[in-house]
Symmetry: C3
């Protein structure tokens, strides 16, 4: 299995061009698209979606390209993880949360072996010309060490802001999903000590197991399916209700 | 073949997580995505899209999750149909129109056998934790009867409003498609007795075989490719022209 | 491999219905979706996306349906190209740029052999009823000549406007991609004689190899990954910056 995550959108042929490369170089691979609707250049969002999806995927190669630095000196990298998965993409923090979810980085290489790349590498489409060909090579069994020199100084994203003390839990938003559910950057376990009635940014909310435990249109604070604390509206959008975006910070008081 | 229909959207990893479950538990299955852009929680729309697509798909398992009641007492169900297809999803009316298109419900079970579910079932993501694992089991040949007890009291959606008498045909809108074509809840056969010139919500329209039988920008009343009466604008959007939504009612007079 | 390009959108079951036909009639085919988000009826856009994607795909059958004339006398056609690929779709100019990218049209037939179509052909969904069945037949090895009589008078799109003289390069926009990068209808080679500092519609721009060669938010004129001259904003959208659409004309002066 090769999974595939990008910010390429679905209206151009970019995703298909990479699928074509994979079909030619790794015809036996089943390719699972994670999403191609990461907002353009939003590495943080791409990293979160990838990290929360890989635990549900078969072991394999995870190809991810959210790459605002394409054409600059940022390094193309491939990582092997503790559980035997492989990750391929730009060295901008995109891959590390997924690696952490897959047992941590075991080995990382700076991809410099041009034999693994397309014969001609464009300045702007490394998904097609570098990352997809490398993913296909690794899927086909090429040893990671042939991809380039080992490195240990991978670029990481800044940690999100989180604060927890009696009566207060504050956190950056990690993601806002399609339903308007707002995921916080704190593990669900942080909710254990919270009472059933809380305030989310000052608005009354029910701390419960699922949407259905709240009345229609009520705010719910719950442990989401990825293991994070999250805020939802039963039958509605918490993001809309609380005017939250992926750049917001949420404060829960009780 | 396993088909897959949801309201999960394409910007998160939800669809991919389910694909991952299917790839692990039913690696031989070809998965065909019907759509994942059913409006959030819109069971009626999901039911219509699924029912109109299954006749074009190979026989197989149809997995569908539009599930505003996830985490409540609504039942997870699986149905066998008269033509040997299987349908898996929530018991909220989503599956029944497709079952009708596939020969009717032969057997239905309330999915209670937790051995068929993921080891840990979240409160909010039954697509990944219940429905996809069950679809994979059924695809792999597990007998439906092992899924849980047989039931006969499946939840159905209300019938759409339809009225036909000489000079008038009124109907709820069934769906509005990507092109703005408006499908009515009446079979195309209801058009047989209508003249070539009609009024749709008071606007002149041509009753014809296809868009091309009307002039550019003209309204057309026709039998659509799913066998329903529908209204289109040649080269434009009938929904925009007539300000129609999926919740509208249309009145044709002649 | 069968590639698949349409303007069907992703919210209905139209794409899946065609996938179902392909799965039934050509079960061994790997299907690669190019895009289904060509704007409704925009043949020029569909032709550009397809032509720029096919070079990255394995040799195979390319099924493309952007067909505002469905149900009129426009001909369904299939083409064999110089490199052994096959193209199937309406005769409205959609296929010819891709054919040119694949070695030119070797043979073209008007699809008239109804044995190759669905048993019942609707007036409005030729993707499902004509083009997908034909693509499956051709994938499975049926000779093109059995599809219908050979033709040589294929419909072509008008050539885009291009003007180049010392100090000026003017061109229609060919496409605007998901990132807001604006592709011109001139090959990248046309940029060879241009200096490093140019004006694009009067705005200062850097003529460079890639986005990264410009400062943040600067305009860049570059050779894109499909081999065309293109305009981008480093970290932003050139289409937004310059108020350009697919119908615009761009003038570069230097």
């Amino acid at each position: 299995m090769i999974s595939f995550t990008t910010d390429y959108g679905l209206s151009d042929g970019f995703v298909a061009a990479c699928h074509g490369v994979l079909a030619r170089l790794a015809p036996a691979a089943r390719v699972i698209d994670v999403t191609h609707l990461v907002p353009p250049g939003d590495v943080r969002r791409g990293a979160a979606v990838l990290a929360q999806t890989v635990p549900s995927l078969p072991r394999g190669v995870h190809l991810a390209v959210v790459d605002p630095g394409v054409g600059t000196a940022r390094r193309p990298v491939a990582l092997a993880t503790g559980d035997g998965s492989l990750l391929v993409g730009p060295d901008n923090g995109l891959l590390l949360p997924a690696a952490a979810a897959l047992g941590g980085v075991a080995t990382a290489v700076h991809l410099t072996n041009r034999v693994w790349f397309a014969a001609s590498v464009s300045s702007t489409f490394h998904g097609r010309d570098i990352f997809a060909p490398v993913a296909a090579r690794l899927f086909s069994g090429a040893p990671l060490s042939e991809g380039g020199p080992e490195i240990t100084d991978l670029v990481a994203l800044p940690d999100p802001y989180v604060e927890q003390r009696p009566g207060l839990l504050a956190s950056d938003v990690l993601t806002v999903d399609h339903f308007g559910n707002v995921q916080l950057a704190v593990p669900a376990s942080a909710l254990a000590s919270l009472p059933a009635a809380v305030l989310v940014d000052g608005a009354p909310a029910v701390h419960a197991a699922t949407f259905g435990d709240a009345g229609p249109d009520e705010l719910v604070l719950f442990a989401d399916s990825a293991g994070y604390a999250a805020v939802a509206v039963n039958g509605g959008s918490a993001a809309d209700r609380l005017s939250l975006t992926p750049d917001s910070r949420v404060t829960i008081t009780y």
